[in-house]
Amino acid sequence: MPGHAILFPIIIPLITALAVLFVPKRAGWAKEIVSVAGTALNFFAAIILFRSNLNFSIPWSGFGIDLSLRLYQFSAFIILAVAGFAFLVTLYSTASLHAKNYAKQFYVYLLLTFCMVNGAVLSDNLIVMLFFWEGTLLTLFGMIAIGNKNAFKTATKAFIIVGVCDLCMMTGMAITAHLAGTLTISQIAITTGGLGGLAFILLVIGAISKAGSMPFHSWIPDAAIDAPLPFMAILPAALEKLLGIYFLTRISLDMFKLDVHSWASTTLMTIGAITIVLAVMMALVQKDYKRLLSYHAISQVGYMILGIGTLVPVGIVGGLFHMINNALYKSCLFLTGGSVEKQAGTTDLAKLGGLRRKMPITFTCFLIAAASISGVPPFNGFFSKELIYDGALERGLIFYIAAIAGSFLTAASFLKLGHAAYLGKGQSKTDVKEAPVRMLIPMIVIALTCVLFGLWNALPLKGLIQPVLGERLEGHNFAGLPSNALLVIITVVVLALALLNHIYGVRKSGKAIGASDHIRHAPVLDSIYDRAEKRFFDPYNIGLHIVNLFSRIASWLDKAIDWVYNVMVVRTMYAITGAIRKLHTGNYSSYILWSIGAMVLIVIFLIRSI
């Protein structure tokens, strides 16, 4: 295959985006047809490129910044996954967004995002990667901002959080380049000692913020409310996870030589564990379909970071497997949310209910995806979580406990969500119908993939993930049934406990939506939840408070300097000139005295200088 073929995943979406941009306004379905055709072509290209190794490089900006791309097992896998999601979500959008006046803008942003995500994944040069990676900020901003009249506030929040993290990553890259002497990713091999540690932290900030980990998460729940739904299904749920975790893996496994017992590993696992637990605690008490899902989008990243952070083969494989699984079931869940929103007109759980009969296909897809995310055997989430549990337990009991606690709460919150939205009596509008077929196809395809990746997990594990890690696995094989039976038993027990907890909660509060009220209003937790809901703990707000405080001090300092010019200098000059003016008394005798004095000084000076 010619080397230039590697450019297809970048160029096809780009050209499609430009084509959509120039589609006339009154052209009916043209923009939808162009978008779907473009993403279909892109998917086709990704399939053809899969399993080939290609390199491409042309000089660009000097100083080691060459436009070099590399297609190998790992990037080909991500490209394929991105292309699949791109096609399905675009197809879905044609039905869910057609009536909206921002549809055309949305397609343009979406296609540009695919272009840049593909570019970032293919790049073999840090700065070129950052060019594409950070470029997604623009489309991110655009896609959120078009949602509704005040969505720009959320868009700004997202832009600032992600932009700040990207700048951290840029600095990390500068330091990495300084240490490694090259910007070519595949040639970098440095340690985390000294400056390397700083570089590692900065790069990890960039990677995990893209994936949506805590503490860089807080725009996601807001975007869930404000942004168009397909945005949530494609970006925070799928593409950003793929991109962030892809780069995290590259950092931790390729670019930095990490030791299993290094601080770097412990840090990653801690971030992962905290993210799992805190985000799912928030998810549990949400009363909106999309907002609840968005907290899970954050929480699930924790599992991936935890898995990769373990640095043991089973954990890494689990983390990567979880990455692809999560992208599947999470985007499927968001898509079900979108079809509920479109058909029932709301995503408020208090107003939903009984959709099982009216939207049976959506319900089935939801059921599969929810079972997957909760780790119910034999769906895909079960297998990846077991691998992560295995890895976490190997590194420390506390990490395992955090992971399993997360599972309990995940299951509990999906029982609540499913019960409130789909079961029970219908409180929502009576004339709700099943979603149109273009929305159903993506959901069905993704849900079936969830089942496939569970029942036949050798397909993704042996076909996609294990080749990525190569020699590191040394004959390990993680396909098939989990090796640790005890952990499986614990998982099943925890799931059963979650069900009991749900039944208890529903009985106690009398309604499905109140299933988590006994946890929400438990002692101690109650006041913490109150504050969290008032956004006391939002790192973005805390950060802005610090920035405001700083800027007030800076402004005061600036005013003080200005005072020196405007007041002090002026007053000093007036004082000096005033003093000199007083010497002009108009009195001849004093002028003569001055002159004589000056002459004496001159004479003394002349004598001395001789």
Partner: protein, 478 residues
């Protein structure tokens, strides 16, 4: 032939500017067009000079004059690069002025001063003699003094005086530094000085004296407060001060003297970045508090100048290249921001961002241009600012001083925040009543051109970057 290009580049606008009031008596339009042609002549001639210069030649014109006041013009890659940046942005600003300034009086003086201003910038850039450089430096001070106080209100004139006094105070100290150099080397000619300081760095007192001149002209802490005050000038003038001419003079002279001509003591590779860092942070903080649109953008300039100084001062190739690209990208983007602000100011009759909102609906092109230029200043790809910002950071990282690097990282965070604050308050949110109109066609084309150039500068980074690499090699003598 190249000698004529070089002379034309400087003297067409410098001498021609005095014809403009005469032409203006006959025809307004002819005068405007002549001004644009004169400024464009600088651009065209500089581009014509780029060919031989990029091939590695240095074009010099030299005439001996008494007392060391030799007339020497030198066109090397650094000078040509700087001249192209200034005259490109300058030409767009003059074009924009057509529709901006026709509401106000004293138009003949306006075009005279603007053209003289840009012409003396060309003279300064190509000067190969310290006295010649000083001469052009002071002509820009006089032109800026007249232009800042252009509206002639008492308060405005005071602010113009302030700008003049601060920059001239700095320039006089710098002149003392030049005289000190003359005492040591016996010449004001840059090549002679370069040869004299080949082995040893210049005395610290000289560095201090010249640095005060540079910092006051480039509006760096603690000599910066005149620049936000200069926002009382007409918007194209502020654009000129910030993007094309005035504040870029200081950093250009830094590059010309401290890098290309002589070496400075090791300590200055730490001291200047520290000054730049404090300046970048304090002014970025001030930008977040201000509510006057033009003052916010002005503080942003003070902050970004810190990045340019950092790049030059870290003393390595990559930082220096980053700083040069930064001058280009910042010039384009900041010029665009001010011109957009000018459209907004003229059509809403206010500069207070808390009294605006929702202008996206009525002035979409201005809003998008503003956003594009803001992205470039923030350093977001694919805009050109991305590469310059990275290269400056890379230079700082290579110098090994991580605290400075991290301080600038904080400065870059604040840049994102204050630019979004100003954009959101002006263009988004609830619309004010009655909604303001979009600017005139010429004005809108000017701002859109700057935004498009900003994005082209990123995607086609190869061309400016190749140029800059040659310039840096020449400057550092590699």
């Amino acid at each position: 032939m190249e000698n004529y290009y070089l002379l034309g580049c400087i003297f067409i606008p410098v001498l021609g500017s005095f014809l403009l009031p005469v032409i203006g008596r006959a025809s307004e339009f002819a005068r405007n067009l002549t001004a644009l042609i004169m400024v464009s002549a600088s651009l065209v001639f500089s581009i014509l000079l780029a060919g031989p210069v990029l091939a590695g030649r240095v074009i010099t014109i030299s005439h001996e004059l008494p007392l060391g006041f030799n007339f020497i013009l030198t066109a090397d890659a650094l000078a040509v690069f700087m001249a192209i940046v200034s005259s490109l942005v300058g030409a767009i600003i003059v074009l924009y002025s057509f529709d901006y300034i026709n509401h106000y009086g004293n138009r003949n003086e306006y075009y005279l001063m603007v053209t003289l201003f840009l012409g003396s910038m060309m003279g300064l850039v190509y000067s190969g003699n310290l006295i010649l450089l000083y001469l052009f430096w002071e002509i820009t001070a006089i032109a800026s003094w007249r232009l800042i106080g252009f509206f002639r209100e008492k308060e405005y004139v005071l602010k113009a005086d302030k700008a003049f006094l601060v920059t001239v105070f700095g320039a006089l100290l710098m002149l003392l530094g030049f005289i000190y150099i003359y005492q040591i080397t016996g010449s004001f000619d840059l090549p002679v000085i370069k040869a004299a300081f080949k082995t040893n760095p210049v005395p610290d007192i000289v560095v201090i004296l010249i640095l005060v001149g540079i910092l006051s002209k480039s509006a760096t802490l603690p000599f910066h407060t005149w620049l936000p005050d200069a926002g009382v000038a007409p918007s194209p003038v502020t654009a000129l001060l910030h993007a094309a001419v005035l504040v870029k003079i200081g950093v250009y002279v830094f590059a010309r003297l401290f890098i290309a001509t002589f070496t400075i003591g090791q300590i200055w590779h730490t001291v200047v970045p520290v000054i730049a860092a404090v300046s970048a942070l304090v002014s970025a903080g001030a930008a977040l508090v201000e509510t006057d649109m033009k003052r916010i953008i002005a503080y942003s300039t003070v902050s970004q100048i810190g990045f340019i100084l950092l790049g030059f001062a870290v003393g390595n190739e990559i930082g220096c290249a980053g700083a040069l690209l930064f001058i280009l990208m910042h010039g384009l983007a900041k010029g665009g921001l001010f011109l957009c602000a000018g459209i907004v100011e003229q059509n809403t009759k206010t500069k207070d961002i808390t009294k605006m909102g929702g202008l996206f609906a009525t002035m979409p092109v201005t809003a998008l241009s503003f956003l594009g230029c803001a992205f470039s200043v923030m350093g977001i790809p694919p805009f050109g600012g991305f590469f310059s910002k990275y290269l400056v950071f890379s230079g700082a990282a290579n110098s090994g001083n991580m605290w400075i690097t991290l301080t600038f990282l904080a400065g870059a965070f604040l840049t994102i925040i204050y630019l979004f604050r100003i954009f959101n308050l002006i263009f988004l949110g609830d619309a004010q009543k009655p909604p303001a109109r979009e600017g005139s066609r010429v004005m809108v084309i000017s701002v859109a051109a700057l935004a498009i150039l900003s994005i082209a500068g990123g995607i086609l980074i190869k061309f400016p970057s190749d140029f800059v690499q040659i310039a840096v090699k020449q400057m550092m003598g590699i």
